[in-house]
Symmetry: D4
Subunit: 249 residues, 8 copies
Amino acid sequence: MNIQKIEDLLKKVKSGKTSINEAMAQLKSLPFEDLGYARIDHHRSLRKGFPEVIWGEGKTSGQILSIMKQMKKRGQNVLITRLEERKAKAVQKIFPKSQYYPRPKVLTYLTHPVKLDGKGTILVITAGTTDIPVAEEAVVTAQFMGNRVETLYDVGVAGIHRLLSERTRLETARVLIVVAGMEGALPSVVGGLVDRPVIAVPTSVGYGTSFGGITALLAMLNSCASGVAVVNIDNGFGAGYMASLMNRM
Amino acid sequence: MNIQKIEDLLKKVKSGKTSINEAMAQLKSLPFEDLGYARIDHHRSLRKGFPEVIWGEGKTSGQILSIMKQMKKRGQNVLITRLEERKAKAVQKIFPKSQYYPRPKVLTYLTHPVKLDGKGTILVITAGTTDIPVAEEAVVTAQFMGNRVETLYDVGVAGIHRLLSERTRLETARVLIVVAGMEGALPSVVGGLVDRPVIAVPTSVGYGTSFGGITALLAMLNSCASGVAVVNIDNGFGAGYMASLMNRM
Amino acid sequence: MNIQKIEDLLKKVKSGKTSINEAMAQLKSLPFEDLGYARIDHHRSLRKGFPEVIWGEGKTSGQILSIMKQMKKRGQNVLITRLEERKAKAVQKIFPKSQYYPRPKVLTYLTHPVKLDGKGTILVITAGTTDIPVAEEAVVTAQFMGNRVETLYDVGVAGIHRLLSERTRLETARVLIVVAGMEGALPSVVGGLVDRPVIAVPTSVGYGTSFGGITALLAMLNSCASGVAVVNIDNGFGAGYMASLMNRM
Amino acid sequence: MNIQKIEDLLKKVKSGKTSINEAMAQLKSLPFEDLGYARIDHHRSLRKGFPEVIWGEGKTSGQILSIMKQMKKRGQNVLITRLEERKAKAVQKIFPKSQYYPRPKVLTYLTHPVKLDGKGTILVITAGTTDIPVAEEAVVTAQFMGNRVETLYDVGVAGIHRLLSERTRLETARVLIVVAGMEGALPSVVGGLVDRPVIAVPTSVGYGTSFGGITALLAMLNSCASGVAVVNIDNGFGAGYMASLMNRM
Amino acid sequence: MNIQKIEDLLKKVKSGKTSINEAMAQLKSLPFEDLGYARIDHHRSLRKGFPEVIWGEGKTSGQILSIMKQMKKRGQNVLITRLEERKAKAVQKIFPKSQYYPRPKVLTYLTHPVKLDGKGTILVITAGTTDIPVAEEAVVTAQFMGNRVETLYDVGVAGIHRLLSERTRLETARVLIVVAGMEGALPSVVGGLVDRPVIAVPTSVGYGTSFGGITALLAMLNSCASGVAVVNIDNGFGAGYMASLMNRM
Amino acid sequence: MNIQKIEDLLKKVKSGKTSINEAMAQLKSLPFEDLGYARIDHHRSLRKGFPEVIWGEGKTSGQILSIMKQMKKRGQNVLITRLEERKAKAVQKIFPKSQYYPRPKVLTYLTHPVKLDGKGTILVITAGTTDIPVAEEAVVTAQFMGNRVETLYDVGVAGIHRLLSERTRLETARVLIVVAGMEGALPSVVGGLVDRPVIAVPTSVGYGTSFGGITALLAMLNSCASGVAVVNIDNGFGAGYMASLMNRM
Amino acid sequence: MNIQKIEDLLKKVKSGKTSINEAMAQLKSLPFEDLGYARIDHHRSLRKGFPEVIWGEGKTSGQILSIMKQMKKRGQNVLITRLEERKAKAVQKIFPKSQYYPRPKVLTYLTHPVKLDGKGTILVITAGTTDIPVAEEAVVTAQFMGNRVETLYDVGVAGIHRLLSERTRLETARVLIVVAGMEGALPSVVGGLVDRPVIAVPTSVGYGTSFGGITALLAMLNSCASGVAVVNIDNGFGAGYMASLMNRM
Amino acid sequence: MNIQKIEDLLKKVKSGKTSINEAMAQLKSLPFEDLGYARIDHHRSLRKGFPEVIWGEGKTSGQILSIMKQMKKRGQNVLITRLEERKAKAVQKIFPKSQYYPRPKVLTYLTHPVKLDGKGTILVITAGTTDIPVAEEAVVTAQFMGNRVETLYDVGVAGIHRLLSERTRLETARVLIVVAGMEGALPSVVGGLVDRPVIAVPTSVGYGTSFGGITALLAMLNSCASGVAVVNIDNGFGAGYMASLMNRM
């Protein structure tokens, strides 16, 4: 709540245009809405520049539909992550224009076209083919948030020439998202080749001591390349969101 | 090595201006220099946009001086991190104009003034006073790399009003670095208040189950706020570098 | 076994009202009952002020029914935690007045009305909607143990204004239970706002490095706010029980 | 900042008693004071009912003295935890009436006598003699905060009769703090004997797989006794503070 | 292969009773039999005093039957651990006299009656009812190996009087096996009450930070009582075997 | 891309045999092929001496068939690891001559006979029978890569004579692969008996604190015998591949 | 407190020989003595068959001397473990006949000669020379408790013939203690060779992934040999104590 | 002990050339020597092809000198690892021709010149300059064992061109040792470039979540490149030894 608004309010109180009770109410009324089980933050699109994203895991289809109806009423685009196929189908019956991406388990519903306000290209890179579902969560998120997105898949460090042959694309991207499981080495190599920020996404791809992505995460946190920051394991959404914030700058 | 240079080189080979042996040599000679124990990457400032930063830990004063002389010869500014006071003093005898920051253990040596090419302000925030040395590593790094930096210290979540009273400063920063130990909750709260990217830096501040920063790191990776990415524990330098890349965008 | 009883017993021995063998038996016979597989502690309601609570996990429906019959015979109210729906249905066939809560998987059976002897209100708060099942285990437990309970759900730290707008409710509660997964930051913020004890309950909500609730647990143990103590991951029952002890004080 | 104060302020604005600029200032001026490196929260004693406690670790003697002078000026009592003996001596030169407890490394400075407003007795129990320093941190904290404190040391579970012979004291305490390292079993036994809340404090006492207190912590979190909540390893202060909040109820 | 046998063999070589080739063969032929996938150690009953025990997990019914036939041929009793019910039924079709214990998933097949050569009683104790399957693995193993076994179930430390009321049985046992999950405190209390060796068995009973038995294991390794040694999590067999070795001494 | 080829290319540019554009293209065209989701590295057989091995996990049958067709076209032998039986059957419908090994879940398809170019014998040893599937992954891999392979199964350290009776076979192998779960001690004993390199493979065989193979892995990394190196848990393929590289030396 | 004593007491109460108050006192007075900081358990030698052992770590010389004087007064032998050399010297000034073992840091003081009541020989084995200090703690403890002890040092599994050449000694021991760091394999091999109980002691010997003894501990818990139980890392005392209990059986 | 020797012995027994007692002695006398605290394995050079290497850590100078004298007497070369400078100086007083390498803390003493019997070159590579001490332990070990060794230092993946410019050297090495801390990515890249076995050595270089080398270790175990096996953290000796075994093949 910004300073100007408070000043205006106080002036109205002084002048009698606004009663004390009304002023009290305005100072207290915060811009969110209570559905009983979930508080939708409608002003978030103002405050953070994006609509509220819904985390689908652990919510029933009924709860999700109820939230979507509220958001539709206000004309907001909707992005739901970690939504099982079964629930997505229930949603699509009511919202047939919504689009579901089964690999990353993401659903989008557009009440108005996405405005392309990202300034450059976001490049999403994976080390292997098994990392692609996580990468696609980042792709869909970044596109939903108004960015041009390109992809470069299966260029892991064990065949370093595959990556090096694409240096032009690396160098022209404005933000890079690098997705890797196993030993998680790819962000270090990419980070050493470009002068743009790299968002590293560890995946749970691997077996044995990959520990569900912990090894990749640790490797990324210890990157000997500068300009690399890390998000949670398998958090393609978080990487896409962070990249979108950067690409607006 | 970019495409244009190779094309030029091939043209010269074709025209006979460059012999095959010379072309071979140029294709092979990569722009780094071998000091025996350390390979300085002089073209890094071209490739990544910044000079090579030297990690002081585990290097002798002699090695550091030798690297600094090479870099001075080429007119590059120098940043040395994790440099013990004892070694810093040895460096300052030879390079009296170098500046040493004892709390973050960073030394800078400028051969030319830093050019202020960051587009906005980087705001560095700490949860407690004990987190300040790590924050200062970020501050010095970001300033060295050409950014305006502001600080907001000791605004941890147990007294949330301390943070909220500074919302104007939060909202006007272009990039935010949030430094916290213990439960590492501050980046989540800050991330929920701003629409700019937040770089979270866990610190080793705490005791018992803080596990030298692991608790703060895990909390930051699991932030319920979007737009937060994380660097290694106590890695103020990495945060400052990442923020600098962003602030140039 | 309290001092007074021993004294009485010794007096009876002295006066001959009680034989030595009888006294021996009384000194040895402790107030629990052996069903072969489980020892019910009938005097627990005296000693600890509450009836024995049954941990449903790993017990068969038959075993549970047998325990319930014993307790019914003695007129005690029964609370069974971690009871799968399948077993609950078997119990409800025999005890149709028992009530089952499917989300927290708790069953209660009342032989007499609960006496409201908690002195104030216990407020149960969650960070997200996915934390609600754990919160409800605390709610049902605290109500069963004679307390007024209020709830405040989905007020996580990424939208701090949602919490701050409810400060009056925070300040009027006598005991607070704060339930959170992911980064587990909410108890620190709540603990900084109130002057009442806060019981923090980490939940297994999250993915990747949330490690099934370990991250939230560690964050809560390292809370920079004073007046916060922690129970096991997903232990809503434990929090409700602890809060009940406090609310009687 | 409570509702009543805002209402009063608005009334004054309306009536012209307070100018808009003054009202702006009052709404913005939050009750903490910025010393550059640390923000002292003077109103904390109002808001939380206790003075700000200073965490001594990582602060210089100069910083601590500066904070103490501010607090003395406002007539607040001061408690400093984790203060090395060396710094304590520097403090005592300026504040000769301050009292230093070398085992728990705590310093107190009283500007006015402590008011005994705890309603009952807090009993602090340890498993071994090596746990006593942590216990004493709890003792000093609870006494500083206005409580009667009793102690019961070296009654670990390997000699269970030592504990059982003190059942009267266990039963008459209003709040119990149980401090244990190694296998951390004592809070479970105590929790089974009393009907009062038990605050369990794991200590780093032990070797090998005690892992600096993690084993004791885990045991306490998994207590089969109800009515036990846990604080961080070696966090005697936190236990004393929590117990004080409870004992005022 | 003992000294005496080698001496005898050499004497026979010297005297010509045994040819060099035969001696070579005898020196090389070790007393086990190769079934291709498993080497049965028939002389183990001589060397270790017990028949080979078969670990059922990961073996097919066919493999198990084949091993059993070999052992039956040699008149050895058979104990198979961790045998799924499905496989057990397949075994019982061929060996109808074999006995299967579904809770501990153990099968025994006797070719001759067990000889009771344990010198005293082995007492198997559990903290809760959910620990009983692991305890029964110990019971069956110890009985199979010729011991009298008694049990004392559900005497966990949260109701310490349940244990204390059975001190006579504790004191008359020759070896004690204590089985506990959760905080694993029971072996410490038992170890403090008796002057006999205690074998502690952690179980995977619990949730959250019980970490599948790790917490109980760590607590037992750090027991403040002397005379306690520990086996793997849920290793009832190992405890029963160890106790049998002791009870023969 | 080797030096000679670059020299040849430059000569052709100089002589005009190759245009600059063609030279550019050749310098850039790297020998891999892009199928959209996976980049097959056809020159890998030149560069590394073996065909690309396909990691079957997470790939659809369609993707695998598409890759196999490409490789068949080029006359390369194919090895697919971690292929579920269901997918293998789909492959065998199209490639009926391919061979599937259900225990190690490996599929091979030969377009030409394997050439036996390993110089000696690779001996694959297991501690128990449950380790055999992992061992067989190593066996199939090494055979596919042109090696004679022998096996020695179920010779774990608890019956050390089983191993010692096979010393001749140990001593005649050129490379040894030792596969073990549980306490992972076998590589240390084997490593002490031979003067050849030992590749240790930890398996996830065990329960409780075997932690899915971590215990065996750690034991192998800490082997007191020299000449032992370790691969990932259950990584029979990696061991077979490494042994093949050695056996060609 | 045994049944007989209670019966006697009741008889005396009945007959009037003992007043009720006296009986009360006797029932309550447990046989330990309170020194303020430590409760000495004088009847432990009756109850557990051995004198109280003092854990020297964290106790001052003054505290230790005070305890020793109490025990001397009662004619008990004293064993103090984990006693730093500095404190030992202070003790020896007052108790010149006490004996200090600097490698295991153990001090013994005999008020009467140790009675040799162990029935057989305890054999203490180490894998390497660096494990010897831990082994000696076991040796001194077992001798102090009345056992014949033999040792067999530096017979680790990498040179298995060193162990096998000593099979006679292995087979004649009544109890075996096996001490090993690094991969902790030795107890498995020993356990496979003997039919006596083996107590395994992991040591913190090693580096890197030996993790201060955790690797050895885990290996021992997962021993494929039966008849092995484990004590805490570096807990030579615990092993010696456990072995003494066994050797009396 | 090989078959031929046993056969010869038996023949001599048969013919009477060797008495039974002598044969017994020979069969039992194993070729090691007992110094009381350490058993030197003189025949190890026969059995494993190399002299016994001494682990210096935890041994006194006196013990080391005593072992060296024994080995000198038998004309064996000596390698001592992890020897502190202080002890090395004591050794050099008695063995002035011994050579000490302070960075890797290794001492060698040659009684005869090293015979160069490695077939090719071993290339030792490091990611950074701080990894060099570990690399040098590998270099000294491999040279001591008769190999030509080359080095390639400071070619970490953040500047991938530094590595690629040395491909000729990579390709001509017969065995490669790759030493790296931090994210441990280098072995994966090297493994993808060569067709020779790669031994990966994680180092404890790094901070925060490098966890003293665990991150690098995990990354190496999860290498997406085939032909990589791993040794313990900082185990340069082990890598050098393993490489020597390979280079003799």
